[in-house]
Amino acid sequence: MIGGLDFTVIRDNLSYFFIGRFPRGPLGGVGLTLYLAVVSLILSFLGGLFLGLLSVSRNRLIKWGSTTIIQTIRGMPLLMVIFWMFFLLPALLGGGLSASWTIIAALTLFTSSYMSEIVRAGILGIPKGQMEAAISTGLSHKQAMFHIILPQALRNMIPSFVNQFVSMIKDTSLAFIVGVSELTHVATQMNNRTMLYPTEIFLFIAVIYFIMCFAFTELSRWLERRSAWRKSI
């Protein structure tokens, strides 16, 4: 008992909070949260890179088209993107996608549009002279982009990507809404079952989320300091 709070409910269900019914059942809790975050982040990185490159295209139609998509998704709440996915994906694919994959699709679409802005800013942040120099040495625009500009831009973007991972971990909590048994969903189930310990349960998972996110926040700060130091010499 700490200040009238009783944490035995946490202790008794610790493995349920961390891995759900695994290995006798599907993975849940913290394990599923991290799985959703990692898979969605990898896919969003690719999606963001793709959309970001489209948005700096020299073809106006492609540039405007991708910018419209990006701005539309950025103007919507993530919850809305999730509902759209649940509504549209089965209609488009004739059903069949699991709830976890629908959430991954929604998180990926949403985060890609934010990542694409990071990618775009990263590319535009490389001095113009570099592209000109690359082209004058005989590279095509595409070659110059992929071999000269992008590698430098990506290196500068690493801290922002780590930050995006923190947002991603927080965003996976919305999977609760559609019944994917990640940490928040496990917590609400536990709350419904025991009824008496909401403060303890939600405080506990808040701390778990905090530990995961804070570790990555610190990593991104460290990377930022390091890259600032590297630029200064």
């Binding site: 919507m76 809305m80 609760f176 808040a206 926040t217």
Partner: protein, 234 residues
């Protein structure tokens, strides 16, 4: 595709009224929460820059903890779990109000204020140090220099990130549906479950969210063009 569109249900009648009342609640929730989070954020930012170490540490802990925890979990915490940590009198008062709305406001305010505090702090830090020194040497106290010299300039620079936070808050307010606040997203889902016209209901809500977002972004661009650029002498 044998889905039959029926846009009439969301453009007039009962369901239109539901969506309109949802929009009203979304705006009310956003405006109340942003006003409160500005005040709380300002206090936390001042504490974060305080010369008293425990005060500074408290503010730092507040910032890190609430920024690195999902908003949804915070909403659940205040809605389900606050009664064990808040004094009885505060609880009774909250329950006598619209409790769902109050819990959403508390969660949104605390979450957003942590971001706003950092925006304000970086605004203050961008004001040259000499200004504070000049103010102090002309006889102003620390608090008065802050109040009359530093903050008025810093707030002007902080407005674009603040507008951005307002935009985030407006979108985040959709999470209040999980505890039964009848805002726009809640009503759109309600219309869907009564009519099975999810496509129309979600389209209508999406258009409204986009319109609000573009309006807020437009304000930011206008502010930048009319106030900030002339200030920087461009």
């Amino acid at each position: 595709m044998n889905y039959r569109f029926d846009w009439a249900i969301v453009t007039s009648g009962k369901y239109f009224d539901w969506l309109a009342s949802g929009l009203y609640v979304t705006i009310k929730l956003s405006v109340v929460s942003i006003a409160l989070s500005f005040l709380v954020g300002l206090v936390i930012a001042m504490m974060r820059m305080s010369h008293v170490r425990p005060v500074r540490w408290f503010a730092h802990g507040y910032l890190e903890f609430f920024r690195n925890t999902p908003l949804l979990v915070q909403i659940f915490f205040w809605y389900f779990g606050s009664y064990k940590i808040l004094p009885q009198a505060v609880n009774d008062w909250l329950v006598a109000q619209d409790f769902e709305f109050a819990a959403a406001v508390i969660a949104l305010t605390i979450y957003t204020s942590a971001f706003i505090a950092e925006d304000i702090r970086s605004g203050v830090r961008s004001i040259p140090k000499e200004q504070m020194e000049a103010a102090r040497s002309s006889g102003f106290s620390y608090v008065r220099s802050m109040r009359y010299i530093i903050l008025p300039q810093a707030v002007r620079l902080t407005i674009p990130p603040l507008i951005n936070q307002f935009l985030n808050l407006m979108k985040n307010s959709s999470l209040a549906m999980t505890i039964g606040v009848a805002e726009l997203m809640y009503q759109a889902r309600q219309v869907e479950s009564y009519t099975f016209k999810g496509f129309e209901a979600f389209s209508a809500a999406t258009i409204v969210y986009l319109a609000l977002s573009f309006l807020i972004t437009g304000l930011m661009t206008l502010y930048d063009k009319k106030v900030l650029q002339p200030m920087k002498g461009h």
